[in-house]
Symmetry: C2
Subunit: 332 residues, 2 copies
């Protein structure tokens, strides 16, 4: 550059300086939606300890495995698991092909919108709804149905798309861990095929890094075309003690970092914590009745009781949503 800067040049230079400062800030704070309280500090310390070259607790890049529960940890789970909302919606869509549902429970109550009557039928009623909406079709057909639902179905309280009901601080955490060489996995009690239809778009987690409850499949040729049919036979219940088994089966290495929110995550956290070296276990505690929901135990959804006791005894990080999160949802 020659001579004295003209005004336009000065404006450009000013913008450059501003952008540099802004990007400098982003680099120094990878978790802007987290308050500067203990959980954020513990996350930053864990990452520094395990990724700084020469640190005694350095974890080699290929072993940097981080696992996250989904319902209640990455997205909301009230007033009912979102996958159940999908199933109920599908019953309504499929009803014209099933005239017998008008007079058969639990479909009759679902079609009447009578959730109390549906729930009164217990887990057998829910399993019947799940089987009708999750089995018998090809994997491609099922995936297409979930994609369509994810782009249109809205949450009854916020009127936002269900896939917008994800936690902004956890999105930042996923991105931050990946930037530090961690491979991020979902390990959820939810349906594996249900999640895989949208997790890459919403969380940046590709299908092969999504572990969930799963059904057996049957391969068959329809004419020349091979298809996989979803069977009504459970292959894995990826919840509670099923989570370490799911981790071993699908990942084959023990995570160094794990995050959950309920007693269904207790064994995943124990399994993670019992590994050698520096490990991180975190729990999202739903304490914010205003911005989200407040619940722990007793609760029919996402009960958090025993895992909270163990967290306190072992020094796992418990996130108090109300205190520790500056922002809960991206749309706030």
């Amino acid at each position: 550059m020659r001579g004295i800067p003209r005004p336009a040049t000065r404006i450009v230079l000013g913008c450059v300086a501003f952008l540099t400062a802004a990007s400098g800030f982003a680099q120094t704070d990878p978790l802007p939606s987290w308050n500067d309280t203990a959980p954020k500090k513990a996350i930053l310390k864990f990452v520094a300890d395990t990724t700084t070259n020469g640190a005694p607790s350095l974890v080699p890049p290929d072993q940097r495995i981080a696992t996250f529960d989904n319902d209640g940890t990455l997205w909301a789970e009230q007033p009912m698991y979102f996958q159940l909302a999908f199933a109920l919606e599908r019953v309504k869509q499929m009803a014209p092909q099933h005239p017998e549902w008008k007079t058969t429970e639990p479909f009759k109550s679902v079609l009447a919108g009578d959730m109390k009557a549906v729930l009164a039928q217990g887990s057998k009623g829910l399993m019947t709804v799940m089987a009708a909406t999750h089995t018998g079709m090809t994997t491609d057909e099922f995936s297409a149905e979930v994609v369509a639902w994810s782009k249109t179905a809205r949450h009854p309280k916020t009127q936002k798309l269900y896939v917008e009901m994800v936690y902004q601080p956890m999105l930042e955490l996923l991105t931050y861990l990946r930037s530090q060489g961690f491979k991020t996995f979902i390990v959820s009690g939810g349906g594996q095929e249900f999640m895989r239809a949208w997790t890459e778009r919403v969380y940046g987690v590709p299908p092969e890094q999504v572990v969930g409850s799963d059904l057996d499949m049957k391969y068959e040729l329809r004419g020349e075309k091979p298809v996989l049919i979803k069977l009504a036979k459970i292959s894995l219940v990826d919840d509670g003690p099923g989570k370490p088994a799911g981790i071993q089966r699908f990942i084959g290495r023990r995570p160094f970092f794990a995050f959950g929110n309920s007693d269904g995550d207790q064994q995943m956290l124990e399994w993670t914590w019992a590994g050698d070296g520096t490990r991180f276990c975190g729990i999202v505690h739903h304490t914010d009745a205003e911005r989200e929901w407040a619940y722990d135990h007793p609760s029919k959804i996402g009960q958090l009781d025993k895992a909270l006791v163990e967290a306190k005894a072992k020094g796992w990080v418990v996130v108090d949503m109300k205190k520790d999160w500056k922002r809960v949802f991206p749309f706030e």
Copy 2:
């Protein structure tokens, strides 16, 4: 550098020139152990078609999934599956803790080294051997046993370690595909936990990219220490029609590239081939009785019959080991 080079300097410079030339050659020929016959040309064309920016058949990086069978495709499988050799070896190691085996079949015959008598007991005898050597222990214990075996056990014909009986051309192919953004997976009828103990070291394929036949596991606390016990209950037979199901369960996307060697790979190849866009299906045909083994059908191990017929009908690439591979094993 000043002055005229002295002899030692000239030697060093000569070496540098040689190494530069060698590395230049490696860049232009990623598959040096393949002869310049049809299979190599087809591989290079597929990679160019799917990875060249702007090509109509470009595959986005996150969808570049390549799956490989293991036995007979990445390593040898004669005179018996190497995992069976491991199991027989384990019976001998475990015998002192099982005095009853001296008089109980099939262990009695295994301990006497009478393979004819073992095989005469059919699949029930083999399943008994597999259950005794693959179940009841923790996943960590089993993995440690396989690691120890992989570092000491030698093949009866070549006297090389079993993990040295891998195909050099396929090692080059794995490396080449990864260098072009493909994620390489193993999808094998062999035991998942058995393979994961050594695949990263030998093939550069990490545990989370190894899909195989698998057993259920049980989580339990031993005192404070959580363990996973391998149960005698099969979760997945990852062979034949089980392979597309295994791919869907573990990867959740259809491969663009798949390689096998037997009728057990036929459905994986069909499933791959039926996808949209440009796909590659390859079969290793064991035709080299001198450097390896020559067999296809009938064969008790790695039978190749129906898949060969389908390969010819559909235009899948069939590798004639004798004609198409310059070198078979790394130690040649």
